[in-house]
Structure formats: C-alpha cells, structure tokens
C-alpha cells in the first residue's frame, strides 16, 4: 500500500500494529507458561503468569488511547478506518485470551492444594492449535492476509475435536473414582479456557477478514465456500 502524504499518520498506524504485535507475543508466552505451570504443577510459574497480566492490560489501554487519538486527529477512512476498528477489536480479544491464561494459572494453584493427581494426557496437545491460531491471526492482521485469516478460522474445529476427546478422558477419570472429581474439575476448567482461546483467535481472524475485504464476516458463506477436507 502506498505511503500517506503525512508521515506522522503512517507512524501512528505502525504504532498501533506494533502495540498489537507486542500484546500478542506476551499473550502467547502467558499461555505457554500457564500450560507449563499446570502440567508441571509449578506454583512459581503460575504466579508469574498472574503477576504479568497487568502488562497486557496496560498495552490494551495504550491501543485504545492511540486508536481514539487516530480517529480524532487523522479521521481515517476506507482501509485505514477498517484497520483502526480491527485493532480495537483485536486488542480486546487478545486481552481476553490473556485472562484465560491467568485462569489456567489459577487452576494450577488450586490443584497444588489437592492430593497429587496424575496428568490426564491431552492438555499439552490441546493447547498447541490455539497458540498457532493466535500467531496466524496476528500475522494475518499485520500482513493483510485474508487467506491466512480464513485458514486460522477453519482450525478451530480441530480445537473442538481435541477438547471433546480430552473431556471424555476427564469424565472417565471422574467415573473411575469420585476422589478424582476435585482435581478433574480443575483440569476441565483449564481445558475449557484453552478451548475458549481458540474461539477468541477465531474472532481475531474474523476481524482481519472484515479489515481486508470490507465485508462483514458471514459464517454460513464461509462454510459454503470452504474447501472440502
């Protein structure tokens, strides 16, 4: 895309992209640490996640402030307007994702107060795709890549599949011994948080789609045109 005649305008928009990238990287790291904390029952790591959350909240506020400033002072139109609106939505969704990471870390702390309970296999696999989705969605935002955004959007059904498989294992453990219900409930919440991260990443992909194409995201149209797998 051509540069603006007013250089400061380009710098403002770049600033917005940089803030979102920074938020995204911190959030992906939060998810990684939160998952590791629950898998290793690592309280220190869990506390780190909880304590770092405010950094992401601060970044979200910065995105809000810069976006409002751009709207007021630059009065963006067309693709610029769509980008600023997308940035506002995306920062909000990334902030929510970071909250899910905190919630997972809190499960670690609760689990640690319970009698030791063996790992139910599947959580580390479950978290892989949502992480890829966030990375992909944020790259699509930076590069205006609508195909990548759609690819990310379609990945969510895999997350749902893994989530359901994990859920069945958890239920089996609960049925096997009522003593397992406590810790299994915590793992179930953690898995639910991961599944929600996939949904939020899907929302980011939808925001990118609208930013690039100027069209509202219509789920049934997208599914109709999706390549058969």
């Amino acid at each position: 895309m051509n540069k603006h005649i007013v250089k400061g305008y380009d710098e403002d928009l770049k600033g917005l992209r940089t803030l979102i990238r920074h938020m995204g990287l911190l959030t992906i790291e939060q998810i990684r640490k939160a998952t590791q904390s629950i898998l290793e029952r690592n309280d220190v790591l869990a506390h780190e996640v909880i304590d770092s959350d405010h950094e992401i909240n601060i970044l979200e506020t910065k995105v809000d402030e810069l976006a409002v400033r751009i709207l007021a002072l630059r009065q963006p139109l067309a693709s610029d307007l769509r980008m600023v609106v997308a940035a506002l939505k995306i920062s909000n969704q990334v902030e929510r994702i970071a909250d899910y990471a905190v919630n997972i870390a809190k499960r670690t702390l609760i689990l640690d107060e319970m009698p030791p309970f063996p790992e139910v296999e599947g959580l580390s696999t479950l978290v892989k795709i949502p992480k890829l989705m966030i990375e992909g969605a944020l790259t699509a935002f930076e590069t205006y890549d609508v195909n990548l955004a759609l690819e990310v959007w379609h990945m969510d059904h895999k997350v749902d599949e893994f989530y359901n498989t994990y859920l069945r294992k958890i239920f089996d453990e609960m049925i096997a011994d009522p003593k397992n219900v406590g810790p299994c409930t915590q793992l179930l919440f953690a898995a639910k948080n991961i599944e929600r991260i996939g949904d939020q990443a899907q929302n980011i992909a939808e925001a990118v789609y609208t930013m690039v194409t100027g069209k509202s995201f219509n789920e049934s149209d997208i599914l109709k045109n999706a390549p058969k797998v």
Binding site: M1, N2, K3, H4, I5, V6, Y9, Q75, P76, L77, A78, S79, D80, L81, R82, G214, K215
Partner: protein, 252 residues
C-alpha cells in the same frame, strides 16, 4: 428514488482542452450528491454543466446529454434563464447583493414576478429566510445591508435567495470553505433539511463534509468519473485504488 438529473456520456471541452470524459451519472431526487476529487478533476465543471453556467465561457463545447426530469437542458428550445429558476446555485464565497437582507431574497421573485402583492412578497421573504434558518436572526433588521451579516449568515442568505424562486435542484460549489466550523455545521444541518424539498448537488474538498451531508458520492480524477456510490460504502470500502488513495491521503 427516481433520477432528478441524469447525465449521459458528457464530454466537456474548453477550446482544445477536454475537461470531462464520457461522464454518466444519475442524481436521485431528494438526495444530496457530493462531487469530490483533486483540484482540476472536473467536479466543478460538471456542476456548472447542470445549470449551463459554462455557456458563458468562450470556446466551450459540450457533447452528451444532461436530462432534468428527462428533458435535455441543452436542447435548443430551452430558455437558460428559465432553466436557472429550476436549478439554483450557491457559490464558494457568500455573494449577497449590496442591498438589504429583504431585497436579496425578494430579488428573484421580483424578476420572475412570482407574487401578486407586497403582502405575498413579504410572506415569500419570511418563508425562505425561515427555511434557510436565518429568520429569527434577521427579522428585526430586514432592511439593513446584507453585507453587515457574518459570513455564515451571508451564506444562509444566499441559500434563502436561491430557494426563493422555488427551484427543484440546488447546486453548491464549496459552500462552506469560507466559513468557520459552527457556521459550517449550520449549513450542513440546513442541507439535510432542504433535502426534503430539493435535490442537492455539492462540490466539496472536505471529505468529512461529503461523508456527513451526502447520500451519494462521486469521485472524479483527471476529468473521469472514477466511481460513484452510496456514501457510506464509498468511504469505508472504495472500489477503485485511486479513490482509496485520495480519501486516505496517500500518494497516487
């Protein structure tokens, strides 16, 4: 909405220089259409074709049709003075006559004898100053010189003068460029009200103004109509790269 004005395959030449190339554009009735584009793009030339104001320029040559209510305004039988009572115009700088406020509004109805007696003329003056949102500000000084009014008031007086002869279309050429933001807001509000009775065509360099006041926007570049469409769609999702570059302030 039916088309009040329908421009078809319009080519405009000033001597050898072509200013408009095959422009076709419909102006829906009771809507405001904004014409925008960089200086020299042809938007004001097109505006001036709509009431034959270009006729006074020597060596001007026009091909194509401009239909007002399906009648070609360039047909030989058309009386240009009569045409301009149907298609009024407001210019960039307020240009009241150096007469009283009252006489400015009464001027058109007088030369076209649109009234029976003084009482009816008084009514016409009051009604049109009212429609232009100026009556309450000037009713106690109707016979003072119009030039004593502020710039914004003068421009509303020019609008009152333009609508006093009951036109159907009002052409506005950058009507707010000499006004402050408050006076501009008043004119924009007025444009929105006038739309109930008139079809409005406005040339503006102010993108936000085009976005605020119009229902349809047309973008011109180098004498060509690049694209025209519903204003909201054009400002959020322009179809042509030249429009996108212009409205986002990028190098072309």
């Amino acid at each position: 909405m039916p088309l009040k004005i329908d421009v078809r395959d319009l080519n405009l030449f000033y001597g050898d220089k072509q200013a408009l190339f095959n422009v076709s554009l419909g102006f829906p009735e009771f809507q405001t259409t904004a014409l925008m584009g960089p200086s020299g793009c042809g938007k004001s030339s097109l505006l001036r074709c709509l009431n034959r104001l270009n006729d006074i320029i020597p060596n001007v040559h026009i091909q194509g049709k401009v239909l007002l209510d399906k009648e070609d305004i360039y047909a030989p039988s058309v009386d240009v003075v009569e045409l301009r009572t149907h298609v009024g115009m407001v210019f960039q700088k307020p240009n009241p006559f150096p007469r009283s406020i009252y006489e400015n509004v009464a001027y058109g109805p007088r030369i076209h004898t649109l009234f029976k007696d003084k009482t009816e003329l008084d009514e016409i003056v009051e009604k049109n100053l009212g429609r232009a949102g100026l009556w309450n500000e000037v009713k106690d000084r109707l016979h003072q010189p119009a030039t004593r009014l502020s710039g914004g008031q003068q421009q509303r007086l020019c609008i009152a003068r333009a609508i006093a002869v009951n036109p159907e279309v009002i052409l506005m050429d950058e009507p707010c460029s000499a006004l402050d933001p408050i006076a501009t807001a008043r004119i924009e509000e007025l444009i929105d009200e006038l739309r109930e009775r008139f079809t409005i065509v406005i040339v503006t360099h102010n993108l936000q103004q085009a976005a605020r006041v119009s229902q349809q926007t047309a973008f011109f570049h180098s004498g060509h109509l690049v694209e025209a469409g519903e204003t909201g769609a054009l400002f959020t999702m322009p179809q042509d790269e030249r429009t996108q570059g212009y409205i986002t302030g990028r190098y072309g």
